[in-house]
């Protein structure tokens, strides 16, 4: 029997994002969703499921690639602004503010 791997996504409540719940093997997509119901919803964990053949998922990075920029760009992250506060004080920024 030929089997394929399917990825299962579940929604925990109304409006919640679909989250990866796990994966399973099944012979057909039809059987995959039926098995997913038993495997992932027996204890009413999810109110809705998506079942996707793993082959249907496009993945990154492609071979040899690395995700993310080559040079660090920490200044773009929220944490970067904390460093900015220190510099602002050091250079007397507070005196520029009209209290």
């Amino acid at each position: 029997m030929g089997v394929a791997v399917f990825e299962v996504f579940g929604q925990e409540g109304p409006g919640a994002a679909m989250r990866h719940a796990g994966s399973l093997c099944a012979a057909t997509p039809e059987l995959a969703i039926l098995l997913a119901e038993e495997l992932f919803c027996r204890r009413s964990e999810y109110r809705a499921l998506w079942v996707v053949p793993r082959d249907a998922i496009s993945r990154a990075p492609q071979e040899g690639d690395v995700l993310g920029p080559a040079e660090p760009r920490g200044y773009r992250l929220g944490a970067g602004y904390r460093a900015t506060v220190g510099k602002w004080r050091r250079f007397g920024g507070e005196q520029l503010v009209d209290r």
């Binding site: 029997m1 089997v3 399973l24 093997c25 099944a26 012979a27 057909t28 039809e30 059987l31 039926l34 098995l35 119901e37 038993e38 495997l39 027996r42």
Partner: protein, 257 residues
């Protein structure tokens, strides 16, 4: 309690009928549970064991219509010997291969679908409510069976040969499921059923033919002599099954769980 306001004869008939329904579910549920850890895929282990639990739960629901007391209910499920069991012989047969177990379950589900469909028209509110609850799960069971049958049908020569053998073996025992029984008329007179269960036979043969056999290019011609499980005539496999199933219960029938 069920059957309030009915005469003694009608009440006895109703009890017999509910026992046939409950015993069918209990015995098939037990056989299905034997697949746990042996199904073709671990995913199916979980799914089929869960279906087995559904059938067991349906049996418990139905025994509960006959006995309010839990100990009495257990005695009904686990305390009878083969002569007292009202299930169809088809359901006690050893599991054989996956094709047999699957075809048996699906063919039984079709009979059960017809039976519980009629129960929706019962004048007994408790029986009607039980049927509604059971049918909610039976939709899944039917979809599961259909899906697996199409997988096995596409599985090559060996798979095909096993399916054919399974259909023949199941057909040979099928009549027991809906054989006319002496107390059927009383059930209809009592309003518990819109028609005698045996009147569903033609529809059953037609549906198994169309839903199970036709996609395989097979025909369904079940003989109408078959065994008489409903009258307590069971095979040796039933004794084995009861010994295993009730082993814990019999070790101390008065134990509280």
């Amino acid at each position: 309690m069920i059957g309030k306001g009915l005469g003694l004869g009608q009440r006895a008939a109703l009890r017999e009928y509910i026992l046939t329904l409950a015993d069918d579910e209990l015995v098939l549920g037990h056989r299905d549970s034997e697949w746990c850890a042996f199904a073709p895929l671990i995913e199916e282990d979980v799914a089929f064991a869960s279906i087995a639990q559904d059938e067991m739960a349906h049996a418990a629901l139905l025994y509960g219509l006959l006995e309010e007391d839990e100990a009495e209910r257990d005695a009904l499920a686990f305390g009878r010997d083969g002569r007292g069991m009202r299930s169809a012989v088809l359901l006690e047969r050893p599991n054989g291969d996956w094709a047999y177990s699957l075809v048996r379950h699906h063919v039984y589900d079709i009979a059960d679908d017809l039976r519980t469909g009629d129960l929706l028209e019962s004048k007994e509110p408790l029986l009607r409510a039980a049927a509604e609850r059971m049918r909610r799960e039976e939709r899944y069971h039917l979809a599961h069976g259909r899906s697996w049958l199409s997988v096995l049908a596409a599985g090559g020569a060996c798979s095909r040969e096993r399916l054919e053998r399974a259909v023949d073996a199941v057909a040979a025992d099928s009549y027991d499921l809906l054989r006319p029984l002496a107390w059927e008329g009383a059930l209809v007179a009592a309003g518990a059923l819109p028609r005698a269960p045996s009147r569903l036979w033609d529809r059953f043969v037609e549906r198994v033919g169309a839903e199970v056999c036709a996609p395989l290019g097979l025909a369904f011609h079940p003989p109408t002599h078959a065994p008489r499980g409903r009258e307590g005539e069971h095979s040796a496999a039933m004794d084995d099954l009861l010994r295993t199933m009730s082993e814990v219960y019999r070790s101390d029938p008065r134990a509280v769980w």
